[in-house]
């Protein structure tokens, strides 16, 4: 198979899985087998592409001239490679987890759930490999629309309202700002292709200064305040959706786009010249702190995690807007590190929900005795989010800090440090109280272990181990990050 075929297959395999899922919808076991097989194939495809591109080959595919000058264009570069690797790998784990969760929770309409999930993954692949803004936009919108039925899966009034906020904010920002920015870019620069070092030249500075905020706000999936409300609203979705899509795929598609646009459309030289960069940088910084503060006040576990995600996403936005190599490297690595950490936390939240039907943090005291594996995983995931050894989150935060120093923005360094403290304050009490406090429901002290269904347990163990592995062995992420800097025309470290 040629590399081009592999590239197209990454997008087509999840779509092909949809047909299998529909056809076998009557038999849950076969249906899930389709999802599992598709995700295994997808991992094989992305890893093959990783090897090919790692060897220095450029892989791209161009076709479908939609409008004159505007084509569907895919081109693999290291950042996209990183994102697609994470996406495909975590899809497998989430599918395993979903099998336990969806059946344990007796959810309805599971076929629809797996269909939409597969379409969402397909569009994530499309976003990863998009070679121009136009292609990126197409898959960005498909991702929004395909996740809407997942958010409103329960079909209740609350789900409907959550879906309204979700779609309202994501479509509003993308149509009003992002589309305008893309058409504006096309009009000013005459191209929407991603290009190392950016596509604007000196004479476009003023226009670029207007376009940058349009992009940053337009990519609502990056959830920079004040356009973050959709993420907590999306928490009405079943937990596997919150885990993969609203901790990894959808939100990372957002920050991935921000990072990519900052490097391949604007370029760091241009960013450093723009008068609007600083404003956005501090807004992202404010987002980091405010979201952390809001997270502290949430008693619902998923809501707390959602606000934590809002805060962590702004780390990556900060990294992109710092416009130096360490910031971008930290941002790129954080896409991976945060993915593993946050998905673990969501998996745990879902496991707790399935096993004990508890959603509020105040009810979770003493839970560590009943669900030791889950709570341990939660502890590890928290450490990674906070950025403490021995977890992967340490490294990305490290480079982000260096980035703030290089850019001489000490305030932002303080922001990152304060945020770490706040992370400790809102995450660690949960496992600590879980292990150290007595269980109010277990008065006799039986200490019976009652964990979530096995597939879910396997999944959350895998991702929490992943957090630790990424501390010891962060090379793949680091290498892809440095390749990304080279590809983007920034001097690597």
């Amino acid at each position: 198979m040629t590399a081009e075929t592999l590239l197209l297959l990454t997008i087509l395999v999840p779509l092909g899985a949809v047909i299998g899922i529909v056809a076998l919808g009557h038999s849950p076991n076969l249906r899930e087998a389709v999802s599992l097989t598709a995700s295994l194939v997808l991992i094989y495809l992305t890893v093959s592409l990783y090897k090919i591109t790692g060897a220095g080959a450029a892989v791209s595919w161009e076709g479908l001239h939609i409008l004159p000058g505007l084509v569907l264009f895919f081109s693999i570069e290291p950042l996209g490679m990183l994102f697609s690797l994470i996406g495909s790998f975590l899809w497998l784990i989430t599918t395993i987890y979903s099998i336990g969760y969806m059946r344990g929770h007796q959810e309805k309409n599971q076929t629809r759930f797996y269909i939409c999930f597969a379409i969402a993954i397909s569009s994530v692949m499309g976003i990863s490999y998009a070679g121009n803004l136009f292609t990126l936009f197409i898959f960005y919108e498909i991702l929004t629309l395909s996740t809407y039925p997942l958010v409103t899966h329960a079909g209740t009034e609350k789900a409907k309202l959550g879906g309204r906020v979700y779609l309202g904010i994501l479509l509003t920002t993308s149509i009003l700002f992002l589309l305008l920015a893309i058409i504006g870019t096309w009009y000013i620069a005459g191209t929407v292709d991603f290009h190392p070092g950016g596509i604007f030249d000196q004479s476009h500075t003023l226009a670029a200064a207007v376009l940058l905020p349009l992009y940053v706000f337009g990519i609502g999936k990056a959830a920079i305040m004040p356009f973050h409300r959709w993420l907590p609203a999306a928490m009405v979705a079943p937990t596997p959706v919150s885990a993969l899509l609203h901790a990894v795929a959808v939100v990372k598609a957002g920050v991935f786009s921000v990072l990519k646009i900052c490097t391949y459309i604007f370029g760091f030289d241009m960013l450093n010249r723009l008068p609007t960069t600083n404003f956005l940088l501090y807004l992202a910084g404010a987002s980091v702190i405010i979201a952390s503060l809001v997270a502290m006040k949430q008693d619902n576990l998923k809501a707390r995690l959602a606000y934590s995600t809002v805060s962590q996403l702004s780390y990556i936005t900060v990294g992109a807007l710092l416009a130096n190599s360490a910031g971008a490297l930290g941002g790129a690595m954080h896409i991976g590190m945060h993915a593993f950490g946050k998905i673990t936390l969501f998996f745990c939240a879902g496991a707790i929900m399935v096993a004990t039907h508890k959603t509020e943090i105040s009810d979770m005291r003493g839970l560590g005795r009943r669900m030791p594996v889950t709570m341990t995983a939660f502890f590890i995931g928290s450490l990674s989010i906070i950025g403490l050894p021995p977890c992967g989150g340490t490294w990305s935060k490290w480079y982000l800090m260096i980035g703030t120093i290089e850019a001489d923005k000490l305030i932002l360094m303080v922001v990152l440090m304060v945020s770490s403290l706040l992370n400790i304050a809102y995450l660690l009490p949960i496992p600590i109280k879980g292990f150290l406090y007595p269980d109010p429901d277990d008065k006799k002290g039986l200490r019976q272990v009652k964990e979530a269904p096995l597939p879910s347990l396997v999944a959350l163990s895998l991702t929490s181990v992943g957090c630790i592995v990424l501390f010891i062995y962060p090379q793949p992420l680091y290498e892809l990050g440095t390749y990304f800097l080279e590809a983007a025309g920034v001097h690597g470290r």
């Binding site: 479908l64 939609i66 919108e141 409907k160 009003l176 305008l180 058409i183 096309w186």
Partner: protein, 493 residues
């Protein structure tokens, strides 16, 4: 044979109409009308092919030389619209075979098909002819037959709606004939080509100015430009569903064509935009129409009315793009003309299918239909997405060109307003989605299921077209661009 295509285009449905009265049998008359419109469609395909190969075709009716006899002239612009109108005429008739059984007594089927074919004749005639008076004649043929079509609706309010349309339409027609009469008085010719030659000599006379004024206001009444649109919502809401689908896809489009033809080919764009304040008027009416009617659409309780208001809003987009006064703007108008016909035909046929099964187009009767009529509702959502302008649908192509044309002129505020207005479309489309998928069925009727294939197939042909022409735009963009450039190049017909 090939030489006589222009007249065949009009004569085939014209002869078919009275023959319907002879056929009489309800079953046979439907098939006969379908056959007639299919032949008409094939003629228009050949015609477009001829124009693309050999350029403009001039045809002298009855062999009388041009300024004395009636001349038909087919160029890019009208061959493209002929294809659209005849295609819609044929596709909609496929669905009519079963749909009107439910909405019309069998004794009236032949009347319906007679009026339908006459209406088609009128619309095609307007497009073919190069004679100003002939435009009026065909306009009246199409108008009178559409009054009949609307009055055939089984709701008694159809009669008042038809009467309302009759009054407004007659005022419009009178204005048009006054305009044509005054121009004849000043120039002594009715042939558009001649008019274009001779009008500049008498440009500064007040008679010509008032002639142009009368003509344009008359046409704007016909094309339902805000605030002259009041006849349209009721007419669309109470007409038989098939008639609504046909009229929504074609009749206002043809009126927009008359406006374009008159401004560009007869009056000349420079004169229209310098001496007359047309640009200002059209921009203001266009944008205020978009907002006023989109907001009205949000509050409608009947889906036919909802989309009727949305149609008026879409006319606003076309007029706004026309007002930009550049080839790119005109391209956007022509594209949206075509694309909007595809969307509305698909939407109204899907609504027709609901009326067929449920007997009503009230929003509340759509409750829970997502389960009962999954294919029809999926088509409705697809049409809605196209209306919103999601990438890969035709709506996106239209929007892209409109925004690009606005940016080219530096009209930033209008650009933002246009993008903002598409969010209103999100609201009214999503209101339907929520009723369809989240509300529980109002009355549980066992028989409610997807309509027979004779309706589902045309619906899906149109839905497919919505996506196909959103991905492969070579035909639509290519022809629109050439037509727009030809009109601006002063190449008459």
């Amino acid at each position: 044979m090939i030489d006589h295509l222009p007249i065949l285009q009009v004569i085939v449905p014209l002869l078919g109409a009275p023959l319907c009265l002879i056929v009489r049998s309800p079953r046979a008359v439907g098939l006969f009308a379908l056959l007639t419109s299919t032949i008409t469609f094939l003629v228009s395909c050949l015609l477009l092919q001829q124009v693309l190969l050999h350029g403009t075709i001039a045809y002298e009716l009855g062999g009388w030389a041009a300024p004395w006899g009636i001349e038909y002239r087919i160029d890019y612009l009208n061959s493209y619209l002929l294809l659209l109108v005849s295609a819609m005429g044929a596709i909609v008739l496929v669905a009519s075979q079963t749909s009107i059984d439910r909405e019309l007594p069998r004794s009236r089927h032949m009347l319906f098909y007679t009026a339908y074919l006459l209406c088609l004749t009128g619309l095609l005639g307007i497009l073919c002819t190069g004679d100003a008076f002939n435009v009026f004649v065909f306009l009246e043929i199409s108008a009178l037959s559409s009054y009949t079509l609307i009055a055939l609706g089984n709701d008694r309010r159809a009669l008042t709606a038809s009467y309302q349309y009759l009054i407004m339409g007659t005022i419009g027609a009178t204005f048009i004939i006054i305009g044509v009469g005054l121009m004849y008085m000043m120039t002594g010719t009715l042939n558009m080509y001649d008019l274009a030659q001779r009008l500049p000599e008498v440009h500064n006379s007040k008679t010509v100015l008032s002639a142009i004024g009368f003509f344009i206001v008359g046409v704007c009444l016909k094309l339902a430009l805000f605030p002259l649109h009041l006849w349209l919502p009721n007419a669309y809401a109470f007409a038989p569903s098939i008639a609504t689908a046909f009229l929504a896809a074609t009749s206002t489009k043809v009126a927009v064509y008359v406006l374009i033809r008159f401004i560009f080919s007869v009056v000349g764009p420079e004169f229209a935009n310098t001496v007359l304040p047309l640009q200002e008027i059209f921009v203001v009416l266009g944008i205020s129409g978009i907002f006023a009617t989109s907001i009205s659409a949000i509050y409608q309780l009947n889906i036919k009315r909802l989309f009727a208001y949305s149609s008026v809003a879409q006319i606003g987009y076309m007029i706004l793009a026309l007002a930009i006064g550049t080839p790119l703007g005109l391209t956007a108008t022509l594209l949206h003309l075509f694309n909007h016909a595809l969307m509305k035909a698909a939407l109204f046929l899907a609504i027709g299918a609901v009326v067929y099964r449920v007997g009503s187009s009230q929003l509340s009767h759509f409750a829970g239909l997502g389960r009962q009529m999954p294919w029809t509702m999926a088509a409705l959502v697809a049409g809605g997405l196209s209306l919103i302008g999601v990438p890969l649908t035709v709506g996106f192509v239209s929007k892209w060109y409109l925004v690009l044309a606005l940016l080219e002129n530096g009209w930033w505020p209008l650009t933002v307003l246009v993008l903002f207005s598409s969010l209103l479309a999100v609201i009214y489309v999503w209101r339907i989605v929520e009723w369809v998928y989240f509300a529980s069925p109002r009355i549980f009727i066992e028989e409610v299921k997807d309509p027979p294939l004779s309706q589902l197939v045309p619906i899906y042909v149109l839905v497919f077209a919505n996506f196909y022409f959103g991905i492969d735009t070579s035909l639509t963009v290519g022809v629109s661009k050439r037509a727009a450039e030809a009109l601006f190049g002063g190449i008459f017909l």
